[in-house]
Symmetry: C2
Subunit: 197 residues, 2 copies
DNA sequence: CGCAAAAGAACTGTGCACAATACGTCGTTC
DNA sequence: GAACGACGTATTGTGCACAGTTCTTTTGCG
């Protein structure tokens, strides 16, 4: 799916000069792919790329959770519980897009708790790519399951049980990964346009 | 240290339009920091940021090495041995910059062997930032030690000893991290200009 | 003499126009 | 009828000029 600069200019009512650096950024983060002299295309990850992303998430986020368990404060846990409640509300009201967004943000918040800005950046990128992957391959189940697993994770973190938190995160990510239809059932690209604009 | 767009235009003999997207990319990778309306500055990592980078490298590259050990081919080992020989040559001839560059590239090659493009991208970024850190805080010992440790790592990978390879990489990264003078002894910025241009 | 405010310089941000490249279409030839 | 080549169109790449902002210097005042 092509992203013409002119189309983006009209969509966001800005000029090309402000679109271009944004496309460069998105390209750098792997959200769009940039072909020289041909323009920007929404990244359409293959099943293998999807696996790679979730494998990377496993490596990084297990480390994040391990770190977070050692330094999370009661206040942070309280805020994260509120966040999970928001997720539940979004799911209850059937707002799929918002549910995916909040679910991703939960993982970013967790990285912030861990306290390493490098991981925050990486998790941000991986979450963005995951959202794309879920939008393409995901079932509507995935988000709902995630919400409950987020709560369980907070329980483990609250009791400073790092090992259990790591185990839960591992299952969580594996769970999301497995719930994807990576058997080649492509979704029409029109869906993506509504998701982006 | 400020990077004026005009100065870069003169240095590389191109116009601002070609410099700007590059600065955006470097900013996205954390090599330079971009302040809105104020321009680009070479990232001057603090000791804490340096620790964060090497902690991230530990997480990611241990995973990389574990994966690489299971799938490295004899041919890849041969090529990597040649690479290590190049490193040794650069060190022997006293070419410090080239030695740092090759040493970093070794880690990127290893990520390529592991076969996950996501990790390749992340390692590329972390290596770039590490080079900056080493240039600022590093002693001239670090590069020389690294070269031998790279060879040992290849021995472990060659015998498919994943556990030992992971252990060696762990020591290697910890070694580099420890060899940095992160006690606040700042190096004059002029050094950096010669390193970049 | 020190400080604050205003004018000036320098630099980045943005829009516009043109050039270069890639893609689709049509015509020609085998 | 099919394949190859040339042309026209659409889109990206790039240079240039101006607008907006920040930093520096200078000047006026306490």
């Amino acid at each position: 799916m092509k992203l013409t600069e002119n189309a983006l200019c009209h969509a966001f009512a800005v000029s090309r000069a402000r679109i271009r650096p944004i496309l460069v950024k998105l390209g750098e983060r792997g959200i769009v792919t940039l072909h020289p002299n041909r323009g920007a295309f929404v990244a359409s990850p293959t099943a293998e790329e999807a696996r790679d992303v979730f494998e990377a998430r496993r490596t990084i986020e297990l480390s994040v959770v391990r770190q977070a368990a050692t330094r999370i404060t009661k206040n942070q846990i309280k805020n994260l519980r509120l966040h999970v409640a928001e997720e539940a509300a979004a799911i209850a009201s059937g707002d799929r897009r918002e549910a995916i967004r909040l679910s991703g943000q939960f993982h970013i918040r967790l990285a912030e708790v861990a306290g390493n800005p490098v991981f925050v950046r990486f998790v941000e990128e991986l979450v963005a790519r995951s959202s794309l992957i879920i939008a393409l391959f995901g079932s509507r189940l995935s988000a709902a399951c995630a919400e409950r697993e987020h709560g369980d994770l907070l329980d483990a973190l609250g009791s400073r049980d790092g090992a259990r938190a790591v185990r839960l995160m591992d299952h969580h990510l594996e769970h999301i990964g497995r719930s994807l239809h990576t058997d080649g059932s492509d979704v029409p690209a029109a869906d993506l346009r509504t998701l982006l604009v």
